[in-house]
Amino acid sequence: MILGTCLSFQDVLDSIILSIFAITVKFGKDSDWPCIRMSLWLNMEGLGDVNDANARCLSARFPQLWSQWQLLDSILPTGGFAHSFGLEAAMQAHLVTTTDDLETYVIHVLENAGSLLLPFICAITASPDAQTWRRLDRLLNAMLTNEVSRKASTAQGSALMRVAASVFSEIPCLKTMRGEALSSGEFYFHHAPVFGLVCGLLGFDAETTQRAYMFVTMRDIMSAATRLNLVGPLGAAVLQHQVASVAESLSTKWMNRGVDEACQTCPLLDTVQGCHNYLFSRLFCS
């Protein structure tokens, strides 16, 4: 009665729902679009209750979140705990002695990871196929001129690929790609491209993946700092949260660039990390 005699209550409800969907389409992520289209179709065909369709649509996104959390959890057995990102060498060279030094160190490592590795993640998440993976893997191998970080990258990447192929069995091409890569002998399994490949195949968008990579880097350095007794577990957690805003701005600064722009921004770090094999006693591989 409010909107005129021709419109029924159902029509009013429909137009409100459609407006909400329209707003969601405008501001929502790309991955939501198929769900919204399906809901619109269901609604217009009168084949389902709108609320049900909405709930089904949202529920389709949740498995992806669980995969995402599992991938970023340090309990995933990818061997990340064996690497200190040059922190152990930096400590033995007295470049890092206090928690302030550690905070600066983490920021420098993140900046370097951003400038050197995010372009690779961006490129492969956009096209997670074998050909792109091979090209980027070989390119990164030529760019990781520091032997210590190059070997660390290969070790972590191989482990991640093995784990992902077993865990995410709903994506059989992970297993086949891994098998073909191993038999060809032409792949180095560098960490950043593998990370991007797995995320890309799991359906994560490029920005989330790049941010996630920065997160796992930060996570691993903090873990190494704790085991090197530079900071306690609670102190590390506090520091990690403090650095998060810097990590975010570094992620935004370096994301979505081409691989031809990849560069290293902390040559001192590179030099010190390269000294890892000269250490007399060491806890970590790199």
Binding site: Q92, A93, H94, L95, T97, T104, I107, H108, E111, S115, R138, L139, A142, M143, T145, N146, E147, V148, R150, V246, S249, L250, A262, C263, Q264, T265, C266, P267, L268, D270, T271, V272, Q273, G274, C275, Y278, L279, F280
Partner: protein
């Protein structure tokens, strides 16, 4: 735009400069005799008019070292990059192709960027079978006696080594710029000079091995005998160096150095490259 050009090829069995064309502001000086008449090598000094690179200068030249020839590219003094005017960036580009069994030696003095300078250099090297390359690429913090320590705005150095089919063997881009999170000076701690030395190819195999051993010895001493707290406070080493193998079959060695004085790097280069005198007629950095 025409670029500078240098061609070294065999004429009557001796390495000879058959083409020498330079474009302002660059000039080439070619001494007629370096070393004894037994040595078969061409030395080329690159000079800039005015003694430095002025804001906005763009310098580009190509070098061809034909099969079995030996050529040396060096400078008379450090390359000064003057302050940037209107945010202009100065550029230098070198494209070199090294023939079979040939050797190119690039042994400049360091680049010194003055306060607010903006500078970008790119050096591309294409190798043939059994080519050898000795490349030194280094930078100081500026006119540190005047108190200008890492006061420049932007420095980018790209070095690419490719095989004839275009496959990359070594790709390195180092970008040092004043950033939002800490100044360059913070990132460099107290180190005033950084260097990268690339040794690649059959003619440099002995120096590669010697350098790896020497660096391991120097750095192991640093790490095996850390100063204990009772005698003196834990101090950063004045000189840090690390060696890495790279490329197919570990064909190349890259040494990265960070030093608190420029002199220490000159000393290191003098010592490590002394045995090149036999091939080059004069020892580098004497």
């Amino acid at each position: 735009m025409e670029r500078g050009r240098l061609i070294v090829e065999k004429v009557e069995g001796r390495s000879t400069l058959t083409r020498c064309f330079s474009k302002y502001p660059m000039k080439f000086i070619v001494p007629k005799k370096v070393g004894s008449s037994q040595t078969d090598v061409v030395w080329i000094y690159t000079i800039t008019y005015g003694g430095g690179i002025v804001s906005g200068d763009s310098i580009a030249f190509d070098v061809t070292v034909a099969d079995t020839c030996i050529a040396v590219l060096t400078t008379q003094s450090s390359t000064k990059v003057y302050k940037s005017i209107a945010a202009k960036c100065s550029q230098q580009l070198l494209e070199a192709s090294i023939g079979r069994d040939a050797l190119l030696v690039v042994i400049p003095d360091p680049v010194t960027c003055f306060s607010t300078a903006r500078y970008s250099q790119t050096q591309n090297f294409t190798l043939a079978t059994d080519s050898s390359l000795l490349l030194v690429d280094w930078i100081t913090s500026g006119r540190h006696e005047r108190g200008e320590k890492w006061a420049f705005s932007y420095y980018k150095s790209t070095n690419r080594i490719l095989l004839q089919d275009g496959e990359p063997v070594f790709l390195d881009t180092t970008l040092i710029e004043q950033a939002t999170h800490g100044t360059i000076s913070d990132r460099m701690k107290d180190y005033q000079a950084l260097a990268m030395i690339v040794l690649l190819g059959p003619k440099l195999q002995q120096i590669q091995k010697q350098t790896e051993e020497d660096v391991k010895k120097i750095m192991s001493q640093q790490f095996h005998f850390p100063s204990n707290s009772s005698s003196k406070p834990n101090m950063k080493p004045n000189f840090i160096a690390s060696c890495s193998r790279f490329g197919p079959k570990g064909m190349g060695v890259v040494v990265r150095v960070a030093s608190m004085t420029t002199e220490a790097i000159y000393s290191f280069l003098q010592h490590q490259l002394a045995s090149m005198e036999e091939l080059l007629g004069a020892p580098p950095y004497h």
